[in-house]
């Protein structure tokens, strides 16, 4: 099941082919190295553009959200087995 988090995080990554690809993120002082981006999606909240990255880090799935208007990153959800 997915556990809702919704907390601000810091993200580092690379620009490749005109797009940003996160490679690691920091949450509560802990750094998570991203092994794979399994899905990306763009969405709108009204006119506010959001970009979602579903990433695998330490074998677990994390849903990250980038708010393109305010340039903020959030960890939205974590997959918890069970």
């Amino acid at each position: 099941m997915y556990q809702t988090i919704g907390e601000e995080i810091q993200v580092a990554g690379l620009f490749k082919k005109g797009r940003f690809w996160p490679s690691k993120f920091k949450w509560y002082g802990q750094t998570f190295n991203i092994q794979k981006i399994t899905l990306t999606a763009e969405a709108n909240n009204g006119g506010v553009k959001l970009r979602y990255y579903s990433v695998l880090a330490s074998g677990n799935l994390y849903r990250l959200q980038y708010n393109r208007q305010f340039e903020t990153w959030r960890l939205m959800e974590i997959w918890c087995e069970g």
């Binding site: 099941m1 997915y2 399994t38 899905l39 999606a41 763009e42 969405a43 909240n45 009204g46 006119g47 506010v48 959001l50 979602y52 579903s54 695998l56 799935l61 208007q69 997959w79 087995e81």
Partner: protein
């Protein structure tokens, strides 16, 4: 050029078709994308529910379908069939974005693409059929590009024929991830072996009526005279089914992209529990009106028919009003929905499903605006609220009556009834 392609049928040269259409259907779309996103769910039976805590399965994964779980199953029914099924909340933003990306992908293959639903599209290959050698080459190219765009777990059926009706039958009847084509050689075989559930336009009730007169497949319709068909099915369906029995497109397909603008917009929601609270009902109707009217305004449309639908406890109530003038402002639509329509109802059951619709839409440019200063004042106010939503997000500014209680946010439906709004086409 001919050659066998797996179990799905013949490989046909595209240039042999005078007109050529491809139908692409992503397999178990909602569930497949969730499995693509989360490798822990791949290969497992997955049921997609609208939100956490819901019990109706709106989509099932390939694995769940093999165990008998179908769309519309309840949680307890699904658990009997697949005890280890995982119920995952839908991610409508992901699905809509994937459809937009697929649309762009298909448009890179052909100049004419028609999105049929969230997970289905028609590609007209008539003008570019010489670019692709045969049905298998084109089908494989589409399937490969879909995997590149959305991920390795995403599979699609590709059906190809000389019209959309047959391309869809070809796509629907092949195994998951297949490429199937229909031409004159296998047309009769396909018509005789396709179940009515795989025929676009034939619903459950029509299928029942057809079976009652001994018709089990499209091919058998040829054996009935026009008079016999008309007697049992009426003038409309007898003509449509006659066309289908010869592999011709029924009228349904002519309307896919023919509307210059949407004819109606609406929004419905099913609550978690039966509602008996007047304030809550008012809030929900207001929330639905905000989305409906805002959709109409964003497309530059206004409507003059307003309807409201409520159901619960196995009963329903519906009412509508047709106005002489057009409306699309929140306040005026809500006045009509709540005060004019809903308030006249003597509530006789608890409500769980709510729906609001604005119909007979027309472009605002073709409508004379009222001269009343109050109307213009309200319009400026709502325009300002729309602009704030554009800049800071939906519901940043909202009516005080919606400050308490859960907000109902916009979402997309599988059949994509509002595709011209969602995809801007």
């Amino acid at each position: 050029m001919k050659g066998e392609v797996g179990l799905t049928g013949l490989n046909h040269c595209l240039s042999d078709y005078k007109d050529c259409w491809a139908h692409v259907d992503i397999n178990s779309y909602f569930a497949t994308l969730i499995q693509q996103e989360n490798p822990a769910l791949r290969g497992q039976p997955v049921g997609i529910v609208k939100e956490s805590g819901r019990t109706c399965i709106i989509a099932a994964s390939k694995e769940a379908k093999l165990l008998g779980v179908s769309t519309g199953s309840r949680k307890d029914e699904a658990l009997l069939l697949a005890p280890n099924i995982r119920l995952i909340p839908a991610q409508f933003d992901f699905y809509l974005d994937a459809t937009r990306r697929l649309k762009r992908l298909f448009e890179s293959l052909s100049p004419e693409v028609q999105i049929f639903s969230l997970d289905e599209a028609f590609i007209n290959l008539t003008s570019c059929k010489y670019l692709y050698r045969d049905t298998h080459t084109f089908g494989t190219l589409v399937q490969t590009k879909i995997k590149q765009e959305l991920g390795e777990w995403v599979t699609a059926n590709v059906g190809i024929s000389w019209n959309r009706f047959l391309a869809k039958i070809a796509g629907e009847t092949g195994p998951k991830g297949s490429i199937t084509s229909i031409n004159q050689e296998n047309l009769d075989y396909k018509l005789a072996t396709t179940k009515f559930t795989d025929v676009s336009g034939v619903g459950y009730r029509l299928e029942k009526r057809l079976k009652a007169i001994g018709i089990e497949n499209l091919y058998q319709i040829k054996l009935f005279s026009n008079q016999e068909l008309e007697k049992h099915l009426g003038p409309f369906w007898s003509k449509q089914l006659r066309k289908m029995s010869f592999g011709e497109e029924p009228n349904l397909f002519e309307h896919i992209d023919s509307n210059p603008h949407m004819k109606s917009v609406g929004r419905s929601i099913t609550g978690y529990k039966l509602c008996n609270n007047e304030t809550e009902i008012k809030q929900i109707l207001y929330n639905l009106v905000l989305e409906t009217a805002s959709k109409a305004r964003s497309m530059g449309l206004a409507g003059r028919q307003i309807s409201v639908y409520l159901s619960g406890e196995g009963r329903y109530w519906f009412s509508h009003v047709t106005l002489p003038s057009y409306v699309n402002q929140n306040k005026e639509v809500f006045e009509l929905v709540y005060h004019y329509l809903y308030k006249k109802w003597q509530r006789s059951f608890l409500v769980i499903k709510f729906g609001v619709r604005l119909s007979l839409l027309k472009p605002e440019t073709q409508i004379n605006q009222p001269l009343w200063p109050t109307w213009h004042k309200q319009r400026y106010l709502e325009k300002a609220v729309d602009e704030l939503a554009q800049k800071y997000g939906l519901f940043t500014v909202r009516p005080a009556s919606l400050l308490n209680g859960q907000l109902i946010r916009p979402e997309v439906t599988g059949f994509l009834g509002d595709k011209s709004f969602q995809l801007g086409s």
